[in-house]
């Protein structure tokens, strides 16, 4: 079992589910429409009645732990088919303690109050709500059906599956086709309406269907997306495939794109297109639910593609990541990813997962400090005006002695009444509501339990009225809030705080504004020569550029990739200022930082990396560790194809040059660059 067998901390008899509690307390005001709440849960297998021959997952998905007659639960709780009929790899695992469950909004409070839920469930993460109409069986195509014409590789040829979990994937683009047809074996559009009666949202499209649709449309890519529902102008909202460029298409091109005329057949693609709300609407929910379903889907479909006696590795790229999390490898998605990689290691489908390190080094979303007993540390937390999303923070505590820590959150209007909340182990929940009963601010102290350390989660209402939300909303004051952490125990305590992501990804309608820490006394944003400060260097601030890796990028067995900026020669190569840095708290992981860096900016003047736009023949620049990670996935795939060995790390990594005009402090270099930079030739146009 990959996580400590769970039992609740006696101080906290309920599961650790702060964002679900926040959603319920705020009456789902920050979430999109949708009756069903997708939850990613960690459960305690020891509380299940496991019949002989059953795995713990099977016992869980039978729902017998919740009711003797699970059929009565259909209106309240359902399990996606990807967990009920999991991929072979998972089906063989005796003890796997995670699952996605869909809970109806109207039943969720009753469920959370039930003793069965509280006894069995250890942790919960919340994904964006879905509607019943969009639920349907995921794996609709017949695995025995012949593959698309573009996928036929010679018998015995070495192959590798490239899986991409992203958003806005233009699957008819000619970079994902060869002369015979589509190279995308399967694409799962997670959020599209489809008919049917099963329990996982979205529709699946096969290569043969892509070929047929494109032929029927006379090559008109717009027409294909309109007909599959990926481009529906009769509804409002963000339309990735209507834009000139999209994140998912760019990432997929970097990971698996090839010129049509090169007739590539050795790296079939499996793509998972997450709903916009999973990635475009932060601070309400998290993408981890959709990411896990995507991972299971890719494993399932890789099984379908595998030929008898073939070793068919799978490299999966996930270019997304949250700010927050324990950063010690125990986040649910981290544990699941590690589990799968380990399980697959000696199987016929070895797995590698590549993650983006994160773009948060300059974002001022992380603070770390130690406090002695009796001491108080005050963090200044600035909430921007006009933010329509909630501001949330996680404060993680290393082993806390008895007595613990108390956290007080005070609004800029403090000491006016009802402008602060305080929590501690003895008083773990506190909130302030406005006259109408809407939550203005709340905090929860979550004692260690299940696989999770003690932490405090703070939530603050939006700082402006959301036009879509009506008039009865709580609006919190913007400005500098203070978070006072007092050590009420008898030993020093190490504290790490991360602010949840709440800004608007570029291209989306402006909604969220990112809150951030301030420390004017000690945190330097610019160096004496006026250039932006890229490293902590001599800063004595609790506000850190280090320890900013994505909250799902500190697992043991995943590959974490940061970004660098190319230059005219190797001395000019420089880590991208935004590329998140270690260290982290997972002693099991090899590097304390990104594994290595791939290029994410072509030069100081030319931002980003060029790759496919949303229509054949187009290209667009995009930067970020999102663009770096898929290049590592591609390198892994190419190394396998040419040598038959799945590589661990490139052996031509270089340490960035000591450029005197832009130095990297020696002490911080490993946290930022990890193993080093993988040099790629300076090319114009698309990377090869």
């Amino acid at each position: 079992m990959v996580t400590a067998p769970g039992s609740h901390n006696p101080l906290s008899p309920r599961p650790v589910q702060p964002y679900l509690d926040w959603a319920i307390a705020t009456k789902f005001a920050y979430l999109r429409e949708g009756d069903w709440l997708p939850l990613l849960v960690e459960f305690n297998p020891q509380t299940l009645r496991i019949e002989s021959g059953q795995t713990s997952l099977q016992a869980f998905t039978s729902l017998k732990w919740l009711s003797d007659d699970p059929r009565t639960l259909e209106d309240a709780i359902r399990i996606p088919d990807l967990f009920v009929e999991p991929p072979k790899l998972l089906a063989r695992a005796k003890e796997f303690g995670f699952c996605v469950v869909l809970v109806h909004r109207k039943q969720v409070v009753a469920l959370l109050d039930s003793p069965e839920w509280n006894r069995t469930i250890l942790r919960v993460e919340l994904g964006p709500p879905v509607t019943l109409a969009s639920l349907q069986k995921t794996l609709k195509s017949d695995p025995a059906a012949p593959l698309g014409a573009g996928l036929s590789a010679a018998a015995g040829a070495r192959r590798i599956v490239i899986g991409v979990i992203d958003q806005g994937i233009a699957f008819t683009h000619d970079r994902f086709r060869n002369r015979s047809g589509s190279r995308i074996a399967y694409v799962w559009q997670q959020d599209l309406m489809g008919g049917g009666s099963f329990v996982t949202p979205g529709i699946e499209i096969t290569a043969a269907e892509i070929d047929a649709a494109l032929a029927a449309a006379g090559g008109d890519e717009d027409a294909v997306y309109r007909s599959t529902g990926g481009l529906d102008y009769s509804s409002g909202g963000y339309k990735a495939l209507g834009r000139r460029r999209s994140h998912g298409t760019h990432v997929l091109d970097l990971a698996a794109g090839a010129d049509l005329h090169d007739d590539v057949t050795d790296r079939p693609i499996i793509a998972v297109d997450m709903p916009d709300e999973a990635v475009g609407d932060p601070a309400g929910s998290t993408l981890t639910v959709h990411a896990i379903l995507g991972l299971l889907y890719i494993l399932h479909r890789a099984d379908s593609l595998r030929r008898p006696n073939e070793t068919l590795p799978v490299v999966v790229n996930l270019s997304y990541g949250p700010h927050e999390g324990p950063h010690d490898g125990t986040a649910i998605l981290e544990l699941v990813m590690d589990f799968f990689v380990q399980l697959a290691a000696n199987s016929e489908t070895p797995l590698k997962i590549v993650l983006a390190a994160g773009n948060f080094r300059q974002s001022r979303i992380h603070a770390a400090f130690q406090i002695r007993p009796g001491q108080t540390k005050t963090l200044q937390w600035r909430l921007q005006p006009g933010g329509l999303t909630a501001s949330l923070m996680e404060i993680w505590l290393a082993d806390v002695a008895a007595g613990g820590v108390s956290v007080a959150v005070r609004s800029p209007l403090h000491p006016l009444p009802n402008q602060s909340v305080t929590v501690s182990p003895a008083s773990p929940e506190d909130d302030v509501k406005d006259a109408a009963g809407s939550v203005l601010m709340e905090a929860r102290y979550l004692a260690a339990g299940g696989g999770s350390r003690s932490h405090v989660v703070i939530g603050i209402a939006r700082t402006a009225l959301d036009p879509a939300g009506g008039w009865g909303q709580a609006v919190a004051p913007s400005g500098v809030w203070s978070v006072e952490v007092t050590n009420t125990s008898t030993a020093p305590v190490s504290v790490q705080a991360w602010i949840k992501r709440s800004d608007t990804p570029s291209g989306h309608p402006a909604k969220g504004r990112q809150s951030y820490f301030e420390d004017p006394a000690n945190y330097r944003r610019a160096r004496p020569n006026g250039r932006p400060a890229e490293f902590d260097e001599t800063s004595e601030s609790h506000l850190r550029r280090r320890e900013t890796l994505s909250g799902i990028a500190t697992g043991e067995r995943t590959v974490v990739i940061g970004g660098y900026r190319r230059g005219d020669n190797s001395a000019d190569m420089h880590p991208a200022p935004y590329s998140s840095a270690g260290p982290h708290d997972n002693s099991k992981r090899g590097y304390s930082a990104p594994d290595w860096l791939e290029h994410s900016d072509d030069s100081i003047a030319c931002f980003g990396v060029l790759a496919a736009g949303t229509r054949s023949g187009s290209s667009a620049p995009m930067n970020g560790t999102s663009a770096a990670a898929p290049q590592a996935a591609k390198w892994i795939a190419e190394t396998w194809l040419s040598t038959g060995v799945l590589p661990v790390r490139p052996n031509n990594l270089v340490q960035p040059g000591a450029n005197p005009s832009n130095p990297i402090p020696a002490g911080e270099r490993p946290d930022v660059v990890g193993g080093g930079l993988r040099p790629t030739p300076q090319k114009r146009g698309r990377p090869s």
Partner: protein, 389 residues
């Protein structure tokens, strides 16, 4: 001249003194004095007066060095003697004299009866001359009926949906506020210096399209999307005229049709011809759709505009070349348009075969073909333009 005398001696008024100055030395200042007006500002009128005085000599009336014989009066006439501004009046009147616009007027303004607006085309039979009156048969060319109010309200959902593309398309939208020469020139290598007659021709196409579309817009008087909702909030000013048909769609499709025909040679391979047509039509469709992104048109406007533009383009080619004896006539029934129907540019026209689709959607009906005759003056312009390619 009297006003100039009245200002004698007023200093600072350029050259006014000069009129007096013809007699005497003071006149030197006045030489610049008599200037042309308007577009002839700077034309050296005063200089020419004095200059002629200097060189004309005594009147002899003795003929010319160059050919000054009587100009024969023929058809189409000495068009190359004029310039594009003058010719514009000739081509427009030649085209418009065979087109008549009329609309149904409901008795007593009653609603509920279908009100059609129609562009009629005259097929002139006898040649009209200075002595003989024009005569011929009038036939329906393009007829339109406007969508119901409730259809337009449903169409607003699409206008809202397309608003997501505003940031993406803003630069194109701004550039396309003016006639889209930059865009046509990006597909077809048009040069101001090399393709003077082609550009003159395109301007006539645009003028003809405007005459047609403005009459339909007036007769159908469809409210713009931002008149039906305060949430549309267009990103550029919405033009003041009616919404359907879309002017941008009409003009872009008319030009696409004409340009695709004009620049190809008889020896152009079919595949190249088809590709060019596809690109020009995709371009026209994108120009039209961008107007929905702006928020100033419903998709049904673009569809009606495409129909009108393609019909106008086809008509123009027929009259300019005389190579086809008839063109199709069409009926666009806005009331039959699906409430959530969208416009992609591929619904009614087949660029591969260069025909309207053999089974058009139910809101579009092909009616009897109408005979058209070559327009002699326009034909001159067409021939001149063809020789530029």
């Amino acid at each position: 001249m009297s006003y100039l005398q009245g200002l004698e001696g007023v200093e600072g008024v350029e050259g006014v003194e000069g009129v007096e100055g013809v007699e005497g030395v003071e006149g030197v200042e006045g030489v610049e004095g008599v200037e042309g007006v308007g577009r002839y500002r700077g034309f050296p009128v005063g200089a020419l007066i004095t200059h002629r005085d200097g060189i004309v000599g005594s009147w002899a009336n003795g003929g010319t060095g160059w050919d000054s014989a009587e100009i024969p009066q023929a058809v189409p006439g000495e068009l190359k003697r004029w310039d594009p501004r003058i010719r514009r009046f000739l081509f427009e009147s030649e085209l418009l004299s065979s087109l008549y616009f009329a609309a149904d007027i409901a008795p007593g303004g009653a609603s509920g009866t279908q009100q059609w607006a129609t562009l009629w085309s005259l097929n002139e039979t006898g040649g009209a001359t200075g002595q003989n009156a024009p005569a011929g048969t009038w036939s329906k060319f393009v007829s339109m009926n406007r969508p119901t109010h409730s259809i337009l309200q449903q169409q607003l959902n699409l206008v809202n949906g397309y608003s997501d593309l505003r940031a993406d398309r803003a630069r194109e939208i701004i550039a396309q506020m003016r006639p889209q020469y930059a865009f046509w020139s990006s597909v077809v290598p048009l040069y101001r210096g090399r393709h003077r007659r082609t550009l003159e021709l395109i301007q006539i196409v645009l003028r003809l399209a405007k005459y047609a579309e403005m009459n339909f817009k007036h007769a159908l008087c469809v409210r713009r999307p931002h008149e039906l909702s305060p949430q549309i909030q267009t990103i550029i000013p919405t033009p003041i005229h009616g919404s359907l048909p879309s002017g941008h769609s009409t003009e872009a499709h008319a030009v696409a049709m004409v340009l695709g025909e004009l620049v190809c040679r008889t020896t152009t391979p079919a595949a190249a011809r088809t590709q060019l047509r596809e690109l020009l039509m995709r371009q026209a469709a994108r120009i039209a759709i961008n107007r929905t992104v702006v928020g100033c048109h419903y998709p049904v406007d673009s569809m009606a505009g495409q129909l009108l533009g393609l019909a106008i383009g086809r008509y123009f080619i027929a009259r300019a070349t005389g190579s086809v004896a008839s063109v199709d006539s069409w009926t666009f029934d806005g009331e039959a348009f699906p409430a959530l129907g969208d416009f992609t540019g591929s619904e009614i026209y087949d660029p591969v075969n260069d025909t309207m689709k053999s089974q058009p959607p139910n809101y579009l009906t092909r009616t009897a073909a109408i005979a058209v005759k070559k327009a002699p003056m326009l034909n001159w312009l067409w021939s001149e333009a063809v020789s530029e390619w």
